[in-house]
Amino acid sequence: MEPHELAIAAKYIGAGLAAIGTGAAGIGVGTLFGQFLNGALRNPSAVEGQFGRLIFGFAVTEALGIFALLIAFLLLFAV
């Protein structure tokens, strides 16, 4: 293989590897909502007060997945 082709192959492999991070963030978001529902079903009266924290946690967790996606996109389109 030519060095040039090798670089392109490495680019796509890297993008694929970076995309694994989005799955990891998916685990995090799933845990977050699962645990929230777990608590919410035990104590439904507390749901209203904790909703903001849930959304905050979701955004912070999801952002990490987005970072991984960003790296994948940068490798695919910007490198």
């Binding site: 905050f56 979701f58 955004a59 970072f67 996109f73």
Partner: protein, 255 residues
Amino acid sequence: MATEAGPAIDPIHQFALKPVVSILVGGHDVSLTNSGLFMLLAVALTCLLVAIGARGDSGVPGRLQAMAEMAYEFIAGMVRSAAGESGMRFFPLVFAIFFFVLVTNLLGFFPYTFSVTSQIIITAALALMVFLTVIVVGVKEHGLHFFKLFVPAGVPIYILPLVVAIEIISFLSRPVSHSVRLFANMLAGHITLNVFGAFVVMLLGASAAVKALAVLPFVMTIGLEALELLVAFLQAYVFAMLTCMYLNDALHPGH
């Protein structure tokens, strides 16, 4: 990639800065770019909403007034819950940041518009402004006491140096995570939309048998658009919320 058929996907192109009105001052390019234009538009829209909403000349609040009041209540509730009653003097800052981010996020949804918050320099400037405000207010209000922020109470003396180092690093990395979170969300969202939109175009350009498949990425685009609408609001909320939490550190250091 000479073997690639059809139109190539170029989702980065939409973030290019283009001068709208070219201005040159002393050899420096100070043109009004599409970024600057949409920032001005966002500020104008927000001012218009608040100006009309706060007019209050009719006894019965209209839609715009109700919207402006809801916006006020929403941000005021957020500031009070995160930074306490003394945080209310930063209400104008948080309100301005929230609406600037929200309106620029939402403006980016319309075709042929420019998404200002997908530029790292804009979000970095906002985050650094918050960061410096926290330091200046914290030092001014509490003097050296502000640096108790880095020394959590009740930590055994032998691991204290390590904890202080970690606290300082986490404090310094705040503007980075604060700005990159918003920037990356908006950038990745717009790239994803563009990629799926390009799939529709590519499939429509293919043979008749494949054309029908274009429905699939089109439906996906609609779904993503809904998700991005949520993200646009959520990221504005998170940005403002984090601003409140950081300001809380300046007002009440030492946890």
